[in-house]
């Protein structure tokens, strides 16, 4: 299981990119591409390979009018799901990249 100390990053071969022609964010991955919903996009845009999940939650809590624990539950669930699908991978704090 992951927790707020984990640092998520995109797996090699996966990236978030703005599609200028369709004006939407898109995740490009081996043999597929998908459009994250608005909430997922906000989270994925904060994944930079150095921020922990906790820091990502703090960033979102500062911008959106919702209790931190609600945001934390959504973010942890989403990152867990995307990690199990190998879109993201999560390193523990201090683990070399």
């Amino acid at each position: 299981m992951i927790d707020e100390t984990n640092i998520p990053r995109f797996s090699r071969g996966v990236r978030l990119q703005h599609d200028g022609v369709r004006d939407q964010w898109v995740v490009l991955a081996p043999e597929r591409a998908f459009i994250p919903d608005q909430t997922a996009t906000e989270v994925l845009r904060l994944i930079d390979g150095t921020s922990s999940i906790g820091q990502i939650i703090d960033g979102l809590a500062g911008r959106f009018n919702a209790p931190r624990e609600v945001i934390a539950g959504d973010v942890l669930g989403m990152i867990q799901d995307l990690s199990s699908r190998r879109v993201l991978r999560c390193d523990s704090m201090g683990t070399p990249a």
Partner: protein
């Protein structure tokens, strides 16, 4: 990714993927090759600058992914230059390769160029059987070495196996090999009976029990490798009652450019007689995508005959495959005969009934100037 149906002839949704067939040259001669029977020669191939222009137009049009294919795309010395150009344009780059021309140096050049992903093909896990299908002695060892180099580089890897009556029993070993090689994905793809595979169908088509066994092995493998391997399974049309949405619909998501620069809505489209396919030498991809008659011909649902026209599935399967309709019914505009509602569906049953109990010993190898019916030169074991 979701797509909507076309708003109309003037505003088709932009395509998502470009299959760039850089060359038809290939050291292998796979008997189910998806290239056309008439292979294009080196002398007619697009130049580096032509492909760079095509990628610029593709990115501007909305294409997100470029699949570098062939033939063997590594037969083009400018491949790293082309990958680098596509990468700079923000295109996701995928190399579809046999691996037999890969070494540490060529892979390093591709990785430096920004290559995102490699799809590496294997013909079998059994060396003798693999090299009989591919027609190249020594290919298996070179492929295994390519896989080792890719894993060492950390390159995201899909391993592909085409399955048929001669290798259907080895799917568990195929999945195990993919896992052992460090692939993130394994594709188990039943042979699609077009082009060379259509010619070799009697030697390739599995029977129902063999097909069911493959499906079962994939199901078991998905549980066994749940956390470590994604398994893509491409089912065979002939054992279906519902056609596949071929290419996600004609000219709706996908664009193919042949080595000489013909733009096609699918890689087999040139098998359809009487159609004129535009060249990227004369027109931009934007012009081709929006208004080339060959792209408009089967786009959307207006072209459909009955029973497609009044069918609830028409925007799900888009009438199936035009090339298959042509190959089996003689009419590219017919309902795909795989569909149980097709008036020609009994022809599929007839093909299955005519399947010989013993696979013919002769294979027709994919090669230049090989007219269909010429005997195989590679000795069979």
């Amino acid at each position: 990714m979701s797509t909507s149906s076309p708003d109309g002839i003037n505003a088709p949704p932009p395509p998502l993927s470009l299959l760039a067939e850089l060359t038809h040259r290939c050291p292998l001669q796979c008997v189910y090759c998806s290239n056309p029977l008439e292979l294009e020669k080196r002398g007619v191939e697009l130049e580096t600058a032509d492909w760079q222009r095509v990628f610029e137009q593709a990115a501007a049009l909305g294409i997100l992914q470029v699949h570098f294919s062939g033939g063997e795309p590594m037969a083009r010395p400018d491949l790293p230059v082309l990958v680098a150009h596509a990468t700079r344009l923000g295109l996701y780059t995928n190399l579809i390769t046999s691996g037999v021309m890969m070494d540490a140096r060529s892979l390093d050049a591709l990785a430096q160029a920004g290559l995102d992903h490699v799809q590496l093909s294997f013909q079998d896990v059994d060396v003798e059987a693999a090299e009989r299908i591919g027609g190249l002695r020594g290919a298996q060892a070179r492929k295994l070495e390519a896989a080792r180099l890719l894993a060492a580089e950390g390159m995201p890897l899909t391993v592909n196996f085409v399955v048929h009556r001669q290798n259907h029993a080895r799917v568990p070993e195929m999945l195990a090999l993919g896992h052992r090689l460090g692939a993130g994905r394994v594709e188990i793809a039943h042979t699609q009976y077009h082009g060379w595979a259509f010619v070799n169908r009697a030697a390739l088509l599995p029977d129902r029990a063999q097909f069911d066994a493959v499906t079962g092995a994939v199901r078991v493998g998905r549980e066994q490798y749940l956390d470590s391997l994604t398994i893509d399974y491409v089912t065979p049309d002939y054992y279906a009652d519902q056609p596949k949405p071929c290419m996600g619909g004609w000219a709706q998501r996908f664009l193919n450019v042949t080595p000489s620069g013909h733009a096609l809505p699918c890689h087999a489209a040139e098998s359809i007689p009487g159609m004129v396919f535009p060249s990227v030498r004369d027109s931009s991809l934007q012009e081709i995508w929006t208004s080339a008659p060959a792209f408009l011909r089967f786009r959307g649902t207006d072209w459909m005959p009955e029973p497609c026209r009044s069918c609830a599935m028409k925007e799900i399967d888009w009438g199936g495959c035009r090339c298959q309709a042509l190959a089996i019914t003689g009419d590219a505009a017919a309902t795909d005969p795989v569909c149980a509602r097709s008036p020609m569906h009994d022809r599929i049953a007839a093909i299955l009934a005519e399947r010989p109990a013993e696979a013919p010993a002769t294979l027709h190898y994919r090669r230049y100037g090989s007219s269909v019916g010429r005997e195989a030169e590679l000795t069979t074991p």
